[in-house]
Amino acid sequence: MNEPLSHGVVYIIVAMAAVTAFTRIAGFWMMGRVTLTPRVMRMLEALPGSVVAALIMPVILKEGLSAALALTAVALIMIWRRNEFIALAGGLALIAGMRAIGW
């Protein structure tokens, strides 16, 4: 397992591409073999928010108050105006401003 490979980079890229393609394809494929009961449907419905929460909550914890405020601002602007550009611009302006004053 520890002797060097020639063209090793290519092996790494192909291995990473294969496992990643598996994760993208297999979930959809497998669900064709599972009965979509109401409970399974509720699990699928809870997924988007759960993935996003699992990805960003640790970021908020790491970045602190400025990130939490910017994310809250984006959510509020989005509910109010329903426009991603305005919401993103508002959130970015807030976080850039807070970082400029050293928060």
């Binding site: 397992m1 520890n2 002797e3 490979l5 090793g8 980079v9 890229i13 291995a15 990473m16 591409a17 496992v19 990643t20 393609a21 994760t23 993208r24 394809i25 297999a26 979930g27 959809f28 494929w29 669900m31 064709g32 979509l36 109401p38 399974v40 449907m41 509720r42 699990m43 699928l44 419905e45 809870a46 997924l47 988007p48 928010g49 759960s50 993935v51 996003v52 929460a53 699992a54 990805l55 960003i56 909550m57 640790p58 990130a67 910017a70 984006v74 959510a75 509020l76 989005m78 509910i79 329903r82 991603e84 550009f85 919401a87 993103l88 959130g91 970015l92 976080i95 850039a96 970082r99």
Partner: protein, 240 residues
């Protein structure tokens, strides 16, 4: 009478108009994708990858977080053990996409495979959330899934080349908040779906479990642990 789709929405269609709609919907997210791509390219150059290797990885792996993580493990002397370690790390980080793909099934079960699998091959967190919202708002065109992924692919892959070639020239983008564009964009996409406490409770559980697991387990297990906790909570909380 049998419903035509598992989620009760209109049956799947596919058109170039849907592809275009998907591309256009991604425009607000593309600056964030480009910054992410440049960051990966600069890191890859630092670790000794050539431009071709960088572009090849971005084009066929096309999963930014796992690519950045792979650079942390990188060593110029490639052994079978290293290939295995990197494959397993990539698998763990990208496992969430199994669930993301699964969530497309109720809508796209009846669609021809050629209209679904190319879109799945270039699925990302960003265009997945956008596509689900498109579906919830009554959309049926599977071209949207492909087009939104394509817009990100066409932005990400050249950005990594630019980062690989010119990475050393790029100033720290942190003061402008660009490192926060993707988290902010996720929240913007999700906010209109924030409907009731019962619905958002699984999200809170996902976030809390992710934070807790991040302290206990190394690496990226927190993403899949938090996601699974949220999905299970969503499935069982509705039982009463």
């Amino acid at each position: 009478m049998q419903p035509e789709t598992g989620d009760g929405g209109p049956p799947p269609t596919w058109s170039l108009h849907g592809v275009r709609e998907g591309v256009m919907a991604m425009v607000p997210a593309l600056p964030g994708v480009a910054v992410f791509g440049v960051a990966f390219g600069a890191l890859a150059a630092e670790r000794g990858l050539t431009t071709i290797e960088t572009v090849l990885m971005s084009g066929i792996v096309f999963a930014g977080v796992s690519q950045i993580a792979s650079m942390e493990l990188w060593s110029p002397i490639v052994t079978p053990a290293l290939v295995l370690t990197m494959a397993i790390t990539t698998l763990v980080i990208n496992l969430r996409m199994l669930l993301m793909g699964a969530s497309m099934r109720p809508w796209l079960a009846a669609a021809p495979p050629l209209q679904v699998y190319p879109g799945l091959y270039i699925l990302t967190d960003t265009n997945w959330v956008a596509t689900l919202r498109y579906r919830r708002e009554g959309g049926s065109d599977a071209g949207y899934l492909f087009g939104s992924g394509l817009a990100i692919w066409l932005t990400f892959v050249p950005s990594t080349a630019i980062g690989q070639l010119f990475g050393v020239l790029i100033a720290d983008p942190r003061p402008y908040g660009v490192d926060m564009i993707l988290p902010l964009y996720f929240v913007a996409l999700l906010a209109p779906m924030f409907e009731s406490t019962r619905r958002s409770l699984p999200w809170a559980i996902a976030g809390i479990v992710a934070i807790a697991v991040q302290y206990v387990l190394p690496g990226f297990w927190y993403i899949i642990a938090g996601t699974l906790a949220g999905a299970l909570a969503g499935g069982f909380l509705g039982d009463e």
